[in-house]
Symmetry: C2
Subunit: 235 residues, 2 copies
Amino acid sequence: MKTAIRGARPRSAAGLPALSPDQVVDAAIRLTEEHGLDGWTIRQLAAAIRAWPAVVYHHVGDREAVVDAVLQSVVAGMPVPADDLPWRDWWHRFLVDGRATLRRYRGVARRLATRGPTVPAMLAIADHGIRVLRRAGFGAESSDVYQVLVSSSFLMVALEDEWAADPSLRSRTAAVLAAHRDREDMPGLAALASLWHRTCNDQETLRARDEWFFGYAVDRALDAVQVRLDILTAK
Amino acid sequence: MKTAIRGARPRSAAGLPALSPDQVVDAAIRLTEEHGLDGWTIRQLAAAIRAWPAVVYHHVGDREAVVDAVLQSVVAGMPVPADDLPWRDWWHRFLVDGRATLRRYRGVARRLATRGPTVPAMLAIADHGIRVLRRAGFGAESSDVYQVLVSSSFLMVALEDEWAADPSLRSRTAAVLAAHRDREDMPGLAALASLWHRTCNDQETLRARDEWFFGYAVDRALDAVQVRLDILTAK
DNA sequence: ACCTGAACACCGTTCAAGT
DNA sequence: ACCTGAACACCGTTCAAGT
């Protein structure tokens, strides 16, 4: 709202103290929690700290720089399981708990997938994850396994983020599929439609279904990796 | 460029015939092939057909409507393997060939993942894919398996699209990791860094690596699904 | 050093007016 | 029916000027 800025007197005149970079980033984190990383503008961020857009540039930099700071903060808050867990437990824990954290900050998962360890806090996580795999016997394939597990999981969270940001995406899918529930000439489609019919009725069953499906996808990814480990350690 | 529009005389005065919705969509498809679905604006699309932005709205609708038309066209061009292939071959073919098509139109894969069978041409594909799984013995789990295979693959293509649209994302990752190649205190990270060092040197090995990795990810997804099938058909 | 306020070059979208 | 041309309400970013 323009009024929010217009209404604000100059910070000093209003008795407001000087801002710090941290305060700008904190405000960005709160906005991200509420509207997602693509759901706020520099102008809204400035309004949230009762300042002008140029103030954000002065303290932090352009939008990219603010986003990087938010990413760093969120990743730093991701729980890392204990080193001595069996590899499959370590990764299941990390991915499922990681989802819970990432989903609180829509849009972060997608950027983590594209930027990888550019975010400093991801470096330690990558090291842990790969060490756990190497100890388990994945050997030289550990890095590839790491990339598969992290990419596929983070991207799945990114997908959930998009659905959360625009619920009409799924309700439209539900509506389209509903029209094909009883098509006997397309039994595959009818099966898919009946699955959507069962899960998309109310908000709560949908949420539960999403959580179940993420776990299902993670378990499948871990199954796949287990198959590789069996082959690698057999010879 | 504004000049591109400014320079154009009114269509009739310039001897240009009236436009059709198809011509607008065709231009959008060409722009998507060149710059990706997020790489052109309504104004650029209008300029490409030597018209004003409002003309796009008149013939097709808002940006969403144009995007939907592009999605429909691209999906309609995706090759669908023969029905009688064994399930694993069918899916491997569909996903690998599908990637080749989708990658020619950056940004399409991501939207297909979020919109699913909202795109009409996806309905027949979903039906085929699920029927193949049901015939193989996946039973009631066929729809979930379909969702896992399609989501994970399309999202991986979406990730490649983002890297292609902004190469600096990966060169920055490469630069960050290069600094950790010889860190003995972080052996996992060092392993990841040496993988990037090997693959990110020139454009061609990177392209080959991406293609290999997609195949690796698809094979892992199919491995995982095979494990489920073994369990389901054993009892 | 920190902030103001305006400006610049863009967006997508709408609309009255023309032919 | 089809197109023009301008306008509206936004963006991110920059910058001279203030304190």
